[in-house]
């Protein structure tokens, strides 16, 4: 099972990373362009594309088994104030992973936290929720309503 998150800081950071993994490339680029004081930064790792082996569970909830791999792109950056950020996302978009790492770093910093929240995290969260709700409602429309036909006399 997942390790428990140890602090509000970790919980907040995980939320940010989870959402940044779902940001589209244009969303990330637009936010980066909109940032007034883009900090200098260096790449500590990547951006690079590799594989993560996705596991399933036997019977859905039993012992793990290897289902197959997925492409993942990642980057690690250090911004000017020394904060290190990581970006991890499905797919082969290395630039998006790099931008995600930058925003992970910026999100840890008082000065940029609000910017990251309002320009990226909150809109992505809303989009995610709207997409999920739409999918759920589309699926709900295909739910079978059974009815019983009474035949003959009682």
């Amino acid at each position: 099972m997942n390790k428990a998150l140890n602090s509000p800081h970790e919980t907040g950071r995980k939320r940010g990373l989870d959402l940044l993994a779902r940001a589209t490339r244009p969303e990330l680029e637009a936010a980066w362009q909109a940032l007034a004081d883009r900090p200098g930064h260096e790449l500590l790792r990547g951006p690079e594309t590799g594989l993560v082996m996705v596991r399933g569970r036997i019977g859905g909830g039993g012992a793990p088994f290897n289902l197959g791999e997925t492409t993942v792109s990642r980057a690690t950056v250090r911004v000017a104030d020394g904060t290190v950020g990581h970006g991890y996302r499905l797919g082969t978009d290395r630039r998006a992973a790099e931008l995600a790492a930058l925003f992970d770093a910026l999100g840890q910093n008082e000065r940029h936290r609000d910017f990251v929240e309002t320009s990226l995290l909150a809109p992505i969260e809303q989009r995610q929720a709207a997409d999920a709700a739409r999918r759920e409602n589309e699926t709900a429309a295909t739910k079978v309503d059974f009815f019983t036909m009474v035949r003959g006399e009682d």
């Binding site: 594989l51 909830g61 709900a140």
Partner: protein
């Protein structure tokens, strides 16, 4: 004496140039885009991902385009690509119980929590060709209905309450999930490795084996307990962070096959299970996989191996279509020298046969 022969470079280069031409086809028609393949041939993309054992819709679509729609060629391309990438690690097991469900049906319970959700299915279509697709006619938006938000309970958990069904499959405590992309195949093969092999196995091969079990070659008395398809989170523990982050969502199809089992010396009468899980919307594949998974569990239930679908070594060794096509298709490559040797051998055998035949004919007939 062996004389090395070289040649064919120009022929090969021109053949590949011709292939590129035929792939493109009539230049007066627009070229397919990767986006069009992903959006409009999505199930072909899913099948390529499942059997290539690599989840990436864009790359699978590219492979399909490059392969002119030849599925196995596309799967081969994607398998070859994955060998060029490093592996960052292993995900947390995906939680299909927490799936954002896009389809869920059960053939065993009519009124189950969450209900029967048909989703985007070919089931109940009339299989009549639709001429409206000849022209680019507008397509309606999907119908919407407010979801009541009922959790979509797993069918195996319903039966589990009575102890009538075996639990989710467990491996011994100290067992580490094996990986057939890293270790050679060995038999007997534990169930986790069999499932990995089946998950990337050829849909047609597994479908035929699954069908054979229904026709009596290793009967398993199956019911679809549940099929569900939808999006699951891929969580990955990042060492630098010390906690797991979500990398995004992938679409998978899961099949829980429930099988009647009359009991044996090893186990009481109960419902047993076969499990299928595949990348993408791959329902036929997940169903076939679950039937074959159950058929292969003969040792757990003290069943006799009487049919091909129960023969682990046979199924595991032949379900990979890239391996299979490699060995079958290599036969068309030049075997000139081998064949010369065989020709010579057959000539000598015939000469000997003819020599032996003439005087022996009478004796042989007498012996018979």
């Amino acid at each position: 004496m062996y004389v090395a022969v070289k040649g064919g470079e120009t022929a090969i280069a021109n053949a590949h140039r011709l292939l590129a031409d035929r792939r493109r086809g009539d230049r007066s028609l627009p070229s397919l885009t990767i986006g069009q393949i992903i959006e409009q041939l999505g199930l072909a993309v899913d099948r390529v991902m499942a059997e290539a054992s690599l989840y990436d819709r864009s790359l699978a679509a590219l492979a399909l385009k490059q392969a002119r729609g030849d599925m196995i060629e596309a799967i081969f391309l994607l398998r070859a690509y994955r060998t060029t990438l490093p592996r960052f690690g292993t995900s947390q097991p995906i939680e299909t119980g927490r799936m954002q469900v896009e389809r869920r049906v059960s053939a065993t319970y009519k009124d189950l929590p969450g209900g029967q959700l048909l989703g985007p299915t070919f089931d109940y279509t009339h299989r009549l060709l639709d001429p409206s697709l000849l022209d680019d006619e507008a397509v309606e938006e999907p119908a919407l209905r407010e979801s009541d938000g009922t959790p979509i309970m797993r069918v195996s958990d319903i039966l589990d309450g009575e102890g009538l069904i075996e639990p989710d499959g467990n491996m011994p405590e100290d067992h580490l999930a094996g990986d057939i992309t890293r270790e050679p195949m060995e038999f007997p093969m534990p169930r986790d490795l069999r499932l990995q092999t089946l998950a990337r196995g050829d849909e047609g091969f597994l479908l035929a084996l699954a069908y054979s079990t229904q026709r009596g070659y290793g009967r398993t008395h199956p019911f679809v307990g549940e099929i569900r398809m939808g999006l699951v989170d891929v969580e990955f523990e990042v060492p630098e962070l010390g906690f797991a982050v979500s990398l995004g969502e992938i679409r998978v199809t899961e099949c829980q096959m429930v099988n009647q089992f009359k009991g044996s010396a090893k186990a009481p009468p109960q419902f047993t299970r076969g499990y299928g899980l595949a990348f993408g919307q791959s329902e036929r594949k997940a169903m076939s996989m679950s039937l074959v998974d159950r058929a292969l569990r003969t040792d757990e239930f003290g069943e006799d191996v009487v049919a091909p679908a129960q023969d682990e070594e046979f199924v595991m060794s032949h379900c990979d279509n890239v391996q299979a096509t490699g060995f079958v298709e290599h036969l068309k490559l030049p075997h000139y020298v081998d064949f010369q040797a065989e020709l010579d051998l057959v000539r000598r055998m015939r000469a000997k046969h003819a020599a032996d035949q003439t005087p022996d004919t009478d004796q042989q007939e007498a012996a018979e």
